[in-house]
Subunit: 248 residues, 2 copies
DNA sequence: GGAGAAGCTTGACGCTTGTCAAAGCGGGGT
DNA sequence: ACCCCGCTTTGACAAGCGTCAAGCTTCTCC
């Protein structure tokens, strides 16, 4: 249900100009000189092992982080210990935008596999985006995209049943992997059943049961974290009714 | 649960410079000349009657809208007709930021009472914010605030029980009204039970029953849309466990 | 002012999902 | 290589919320 297009690459195109290279940035419309300025701002990338924090809720906000490689979850925790996963994030995505409003990070970002990120000091990106209009516009669009993503998750949590949520989740993961050149119908989940459940507003047992149900119906194959999608049409059918429709 | 501070006034301070006046803008740090530029960009305000659309999902995105007076809901509708309310919005709040990413509005915005809005043509705000750094920063913060708000609603929809959701909702409305100088413990709801339920991921009957339950316990008084809060402490107790806590 | 529609409340019932429990499997670390 | 711990699966049961239905109040429009 959340973004099923290839647009997350835009973040990659900006963030990895000093590594994954020039041509990735061109779509943003930067010239050679502007690229050099951008390179100068991006800090050396940081490597994180599985389980490490990219940032924590409550920490001072100084930078945005772009995922170069790897996989992350973001989550908030409540006073009584419950934690809610607010998103799963793959290469090319930009994290930390919720920290801008109060100059404090609003969630934890934790690596679910060994990962590599670029740090973008926000104040310098801000002044740079004054000089490079297309960069400014790009940032507005990225933040807007995050708003759209969050709202489609609100729709999922507010309207959909357990099997619809799982179907939407699997299709979302599948399409995002495909965008990055991985197999769309055969992948390894990097997160636990509990983390999936937390993200989808379900208990881990419900996640497990629903996956088993999908398997019994021949729609997917589940081997622990290894998922294969056999009949994506059936999954799409499940959520066809609850998908967002423009009114015109 | 969503924003319980006075920061929504920031949008007002920007948007209403040509009406609600100068001093409201100063906190953003604009000088006389910059204010004049801003005034020139803001279009004459528009009046809307109850039930009218400020914008519709699918329409071309050209402007953001600041609510000067009145009350709005934003909602998305799915193909099978179900609609989900994604937010309720009061004076001073800025709407339409989800349209930036795709140049298309992503939700409907509908007046729940006669209202008045300022239109901010986005491309002109964008170029103006290049010349006025504090305005640029202000916009980033407003968008970030929207992300934070959406994520706290995700937390509500993913983790909380019906009575916790209602308590969080009532306290949120109360605090936002107080911020605007209205009574915090005695107010008229502008939306129906069904709209509340849609926003909170509940059915209207559950909303009604839960309000009745609160009333039986002496915590509130319900007379249709007229709500009085008698024991906000009890409501706060309900949600104290599920409120967001920084990890440090 | 009256009639109809829309919104609200309340009850009875059932389904979906959460809770508790037990057992199996797999993976990571020593 | 082995062991232990954590993750997953599955079952039985309970509860919370949704569904259906009826009756009531309030608002709107003529």
């Amino acid at each position: 249900m959340p973004e099923q297009n290839n647009s997350h690459l835009h973040a990659l195109k900006v963030s990895c100009s000093n590594c994954t290279l020039r041509e990735l940035c061109l779509p943003v419309g930067l010239n050679r000189d502007e690229l050099a300025q951008l390179d100068a701002v991006i800090r050396q990338s940081r490597r994180l092992k599985r389980g490490e924090y990219m940032f924590r809720s409550g920490e001072a906000f100084k930078s945005l982080f772009a995922i170069r490689t790897g996989f992350f979850k973001t989550c908030m925790s409540s006073q009584d210990g419950r934690e809610q996963v607010t998103g799963f994030h793959m290469s090319g995505e930009l994290l930390g935008m919720d920290g801008i409003s109060a100059n404090v990070h609003g969630c934890d970002a934790i690596a679910l596999e060994d990962s590599e990120v670029c740090e973008l000091p926000f104040s310098r990106m801000q002044s740079l985006s004054r000089d490079i209009p297309s960069l400014q516009h790009h940032f507005y669009r990225l933040m807007s995209r995050e708003i759209v993503r969050d709202q489609s998750i609100m729709l999922l949590l507010g309207n959909m049943k357990a099997d619809e949520r799982l179907a939407a989740f699997l299709l979302n993961v599948s399409s995002r992997l495909a965008t990055r050149g991985f197999a769309a119908n055969d992948f390894i989940l990097r997160m636990s059943r509990e983390e999936i459940g937390s993200f989808l507003g379900l208990k881990l047992e419900t996640v497990s049961r629903t996956l088993s149900k999908f398997q019994q119906q021949g729609w997917i194959k589940v081997d622990h974290k290894h998922i294969q999608l056999y009949q994506t049409d059936e999954l799409k059918n499940l959520i066809s009714g609850c998908i967002h429709a423009h009114s015109h």
